[in-house]
């Protein structure tokens, strides 16, 4: 009796389709990934066990460290509009180029009177620039007060959403800096903040 021969099949599979899918996903993730924005000053945020996700858009982040306050708001369109409004308030005319530069900055800490000069610098020079922070000295009419206020108005007009205000503070920063900042924000009836923190596990 002749033996039944089972033809040996090759174990190699066609990988083309799998490869296509993998690269499609890869492209998607690369394109959607947001480049990590550097903090204007080194900030060591304290860690908490209980926290919530911060939304990605309609957020203004106030970075606090070394007694200085830096301001940044999400969204290029919002930033452009914001600079326009602030320019009008302080009677400073910003050129379209300056607006484009400003829209690309994630955060800044410059007196508005020096902002024109700051925007004219090259990206490398801007990194070296010794920022003094946004003036917060007089809490009622300080520049920070108006930056936050205008940012809220612009966000409301553009996206019809309430601007969330997040504070990212250095753990070793003394409390009076925050007391001042919070007072300025409470002047415009902002009573709810998000404090950006690191994650730590819940202790048992």
């Amino acid at each position: 009796m002749p033996r039944v021969k089972i033809p040996r099949k090759s174990t190699a599979i066609d990988m083309t389709a799998m490869c296509d899918v993998a690269f499609l996903l890869l492209t998607f993730f690369i394109l959607t990934a947001k480049p990590r924005t550097d903090d204007p000053i080194p900030v060591d945020a304290p860690a908490t066990a209980i926290n919530v996700q911060l939304p990605e858009s309609d957020v203004a982040i106030l970075t606090v460290g070394q007694g200085k306050v830096f301001f940044g708001v999400e969204g290029q369109k919002t930033r452009e509009e914001l600079l326009d409004q602030m320019g009008r308030r302080y009677s400073i005319a910003f050129t379209p180029e300056e607006k484009a530069v400003f829209a690309s900055l994630p955060s800044f800490g410059v007196d508005i009177q020096n902002l024109k000069g700051f925007l004219a610098l090259s990206p490398d020079e801007r990194k070296e620039y010794k920022s003094q922070g946004i003036p917060t000295d007089t809490t009622t009419e300080s520049q920070l007060f108006y930056w936050v206020k205008e940012a809220r108005i612009v966000t409301k007009n553009l996206n019809n959403k309430e601007l969330r205000i997040a504070i990212k503070g250095d753990g070793k920063e003394e409390y009076p800096t925050f007391a001042k900042l919070i007072k300025a924000l409470q002047k415009q009836k902002v009573n709810k903040f998000a404090l950006i923190t690191n994650v730590k596990s819940l202790p048992k």
Binding site: R36, T48, V52, L54, K168, E174
Partner: protein, 182 residues
């Protein structure tokens, strides 16, 4: 593919030289491996990079609340934040020890303020018949931001909902000074 053809040589002279038809298939396994590795990497880094935050609600300053009731002294705990991560707490009204309990100096940590909060929450709820404890946090000028965040986190862990950050009184600064926490 990478082998050397050593069998050549012998058949010289006879017949045509035939070039072998090679398959155009490439082994994609390694490429797929790499692609998925990168996909995993990007997936993990994008989700982990999202900032986390803790919500903080401050009491409204100028709004006049009509239904505002005086804070019952028996259910109130005041936490003062001093220098060098020190805490001082007392129950009742400032300057008036509640049932003769003197202010206590405490520290952050498992056996420090966390235990205190859990114990006090229980005691106060038992004493008042299930009514919640009210916590006032008063950071002094000598405290740092981390202390404020830590104490709010402890309150979150202890699930104490009624709390507020309030300005410190001169009387309380004196108290901190007396106990060497300012």
């Amino acid at each position: 593919m990478a082998e050397l053809d050593t069998s050549g040589g012998g058949k010289k002279g006879g017949g045509k030289v035939r070039t072998k038809k090679k398959s155009t298939r490439v082994d994609l396994t390694a490429m797929v491996d790499l692609a998925f590795l990168l996909v995993t990497f990007f997936m993990l880094t994008t989700t982990l990079n999202k900032p986390k935050a803790m919500d903080l609600t401050m009491p409204d300053k100028d709004e006049i609340k009509k239904d505002e009731k005086p804070v019952p002294e028996s259910r109130t705990l005041t936490i003062l934040l001093g220098k060098d991560n020190k805490i001082e707490w007392y129950r009742g009204l400032p300057g008036v020890p509640y049932k003769g309990q003197a202010p206590t100096t405490d520290n952050f940590g498992k056996d420090g303020i966390r235990k205190t909060l859990f114990d006090l929450k229980k005691t106060i709820e038992e004493e008042s018949g299930g009514k919640p404890m009210i916590v006032l946090v008063k950071p002094s000028d000598k405290s740092v931001y981390r202390n404020m965040v830590d104490i709010m986190d402890e309150l979150n862990i202890a699930k104490i909902e009624i709390r507020a950050i309030v300005d410190i009184l001169p009387l309380e600064i004196e108290l901190l000074k007396r106990d060497g926490n300012y």
